[in-house]
Symmetry: C2
């Protein structure tokens, strides 16, 4: 792990970790407008979060807000970026170079948030040795060898839903400790493995239902 993440060696509550990127996005916006100082009250108002919660969340980042003046925007942006792990490079492999998988390989933006996808793997022989956005794609059988070579810490899972558990087991067997699951399948992992689910389709389901129930 990179040096600048060492200070995050405490278990920060998940809701806090989910809110901190919102604060970061907002203060970067202010920075772009030439602002230099921001108060917790201001963040609270714009993001509709209790001011006391904002203060508590930011206390994890170990940056002193001058009570009367507020936080120095430059300092806070740098501290948050680093605290959230966005300034380090986390090597990742992507499994399942289908429609969504290929799309994620195309998304160079992930690198700016600390995720460097160094290779893709797929079951289809014809993809072996091809490149997407400069990233090599290999047959899944080569994964163990490349894992030893690259030492990836994160596996992005974009395989078909009926392969999700099987592929996750393989990834973990290879030594990867963090899974980013984009399939709608609820993958079971051992306790020492971290999993994050990005359930795009569940978000769609919520939106479709809500659109159907709002008063027009």
């Amino acid at each position: 792990m990179a040096q600048d993440e060492m200070k995050t060696k405490q278990r920060v509550p998940e809701p806090t970790l989910r809110r901190l990127p919102w604060y970061l996005a907002y203060i970067k916006l202010l920075k772009g407008k030439g602002e230099t100082v921001v108060s917790s009250t201001q963040i609270s108002k714009v993001l509709s979060i209790e001011a006391s919660q904002v203060v508590k969340d930011l206390s994890f980042v170990k940056i002193g807000g001058k009570t009367r003046v507020g936080y120095d925007i430059d300092e806070l942006a740098i501290a948050l970026d680093s605290f959230l792990g966005f300034t380090s490079s986390h090597k990742a492999f992507l499994f399942g170079v289908g429609s969504l998988g290929a799309a994620l390989l195309q998304d160079s933006g992930l690198k700016q948030y600390g995720l460097e996808i160094v290779a893709g793997f797929d079951i289809r022989e014809e993809l072996d040795g091809t490149f997407i956005n400069g990233i090599p794609v290999y047959h899944i059988s080569h994964y163990p060898a490349y894992q030893r070579q690259y030492g990836a810490t994160i596996g992005v899972i974009t395989v078909p839903v009926d392969k999700a558990q099987e592929v996750a087991d393989q990834i973990i067997e290879g030594g990867i400790k963090g899974l980013w699951n984009f399939t709608p399948f609820r993958i079971c992992v051992p306790e020492d493995v971290v999993i994050q689910n990005t359930s795009m389709y569940a978000h769609l389901a919520v939106m479709f239902n809500r659109l159907n129930t709002i008063d027009h």
Copy 2:
């Protein structure tokens, strides 16, 4: 709205709506294996969700589980697909054809879940009139006209974070009622507008932190 969604005219709790796609993914997996019946206990065990919760969630879908036998897999899969809105076509526009936006246009998989992105919009003149994956990209100034033509119900937001609120206001002004926000910015919307946030970077932040705090 499509006919088969009419029955969803009740407000289903968000946690239920987020779990239902997991059940659907699991029973489609069983279906692929040739199974025909599934019990709530079985779903409960595999997905680590209380059986009573599974029964309650599925009760919204208005499908009768025969208490002793369980649910007919075919019937439940069809009912869930329809209930979740995945079998209807919801027309969407995508705003911000940058790295992530272009990637989402490439992802034909969204169509299988009921989201049909019919056009992309961007501020860059040079993208006007181009195509990605067969989907036309227009300059943002053409949005009001195309909105009148297509009547899109959903706006996918993949613009830079400092433009998120401004673009959202424009989208809403044009008549779109559902926003799918991929930026880390917390967008404010009027009460009659539905917003879903897919905070990919927040998920990354949680994973980075957890990877840093597990015992190696």
